[in-house]
Symmetry: C2
Subunit: 196 residues, 2 copies
């Protein structure tokens, strides 16, 4: 293995994150090992342990990039004061999940060794994405049996269930509808519950 | 390894399913290998390949037992002509998931190599469970923007998302509510959408 020392720590971090992201997109989360990523960028595993606190941190940086990209897509719908409704946000989410299937699944499949230790910047990103959904919920006319923040999280978890079951092939065992159809039904039902 | 030949094929199948179930409950799905299960029951891996079409079939038999147990619990709520509402069914589902966490996760985590090849008896069991939910939906007063069969599947997938995220520790990153709270909110919102 070529040992190089012509990169700063920040550069090595960025290279490792990019390599892990590419590996996930092309081969899935199962194929990512710190050793493999080190080889991909021409450094030793020890170097990666020097620049990341742990393998967890590397994975969280990759997942944070994924969440960043989704939050950016959702936020773009609010540009120039636009007020996207839940259906518009669902379309953005659905397209993102379909175009970034492996990366998106990794956000959920990668359980932290210690979830309580998730860094603040990671949690902040997740909540930024949810805030866009929360604002769309809060704009609905009607009354709220639950606060918009709770409704947004029900939507987030519900969509995750629908798209996960769809991706794994379990959905088609029990219905002719695809994940996009069921997601639309979930959103329409929640919209209707609030307009009650 | 002791090679025994004092069991019928049906007995060996039952022993292997019981051993795999115990392994999942005690150690999680990751620890189940056909080789390990064979060792646990004192037979060679070759014998297991003789009595099961594939490792997939063994896992599906285990999962079918899990679904059987849940469907039995849901169906018991309909005993003597009782008509359980969605909240009552949710309580049964929640208790089952909490008491059988590993087994329940295995139903979802175990992707078939070829989902299109899931045997009819497995698919029938899944749909039996959904039929109980579907009947509870159909009993709601109000009108249905989607057929009860679709609403039942939205509930099923939505609850799966909520309880999966809860089990993995991801839920607590974005809300103080636990999985049971969000599940109750999902059911209440859908109930309200239909009573509209």
């Amino acid at each position: 293995m070529a040992r190089r020392s012509d990169h700063t720590h920040d550069e090595i971090r960025a290279m490792a994150v990019a390599a892990a992201r590419a590996k996930i997109e092309n081969a899935g989360l199962d194929k990512v090992t710190l050793r493999g990523i080190a080889r991909d960028i021409g450094y030793s595993p020890g170097t990666l342990y020097n620049v990341f606190d742990s393998a967890d941190e590397l994975m969280m940086r990759v997942n944070a990039g994924t969440i960043d990209d989704l939050v950016a897509a959702l936020s773009a719908a609010e540009r120039n004061g636009a007020e996207p409704d839940l259906r518009a946000l669902l379309a953005i989410y659905r397209d993102f999940v379909e175009q970034n299937r492996h990366r998106w699944q990794a956000v959920f499949d990668y359980s932290l060794s210690d979830p309580g230790a998730a860094p603040d910047w990671y949690v902040a990103k997740l909540n930024d994405g949810l805030a866009v959904v929360e604002r769309a919920v809060a704009r609905l006319p009607g009354d709220f049996p639950y606060p918009p923040a709770v409704v947004a999280r029900v939507i987030w978890a519900g969509l995750h269930g629908i798209f996960s079951l769809g991706a794994e092939g379990n959905l088609k065992l029990v219905t002719d509808r695809d994940a996009a159809d069921l997601a639309e039904a979930l959103i329409a039902l929640i919209d209707r519950a609030i307009r009650h």
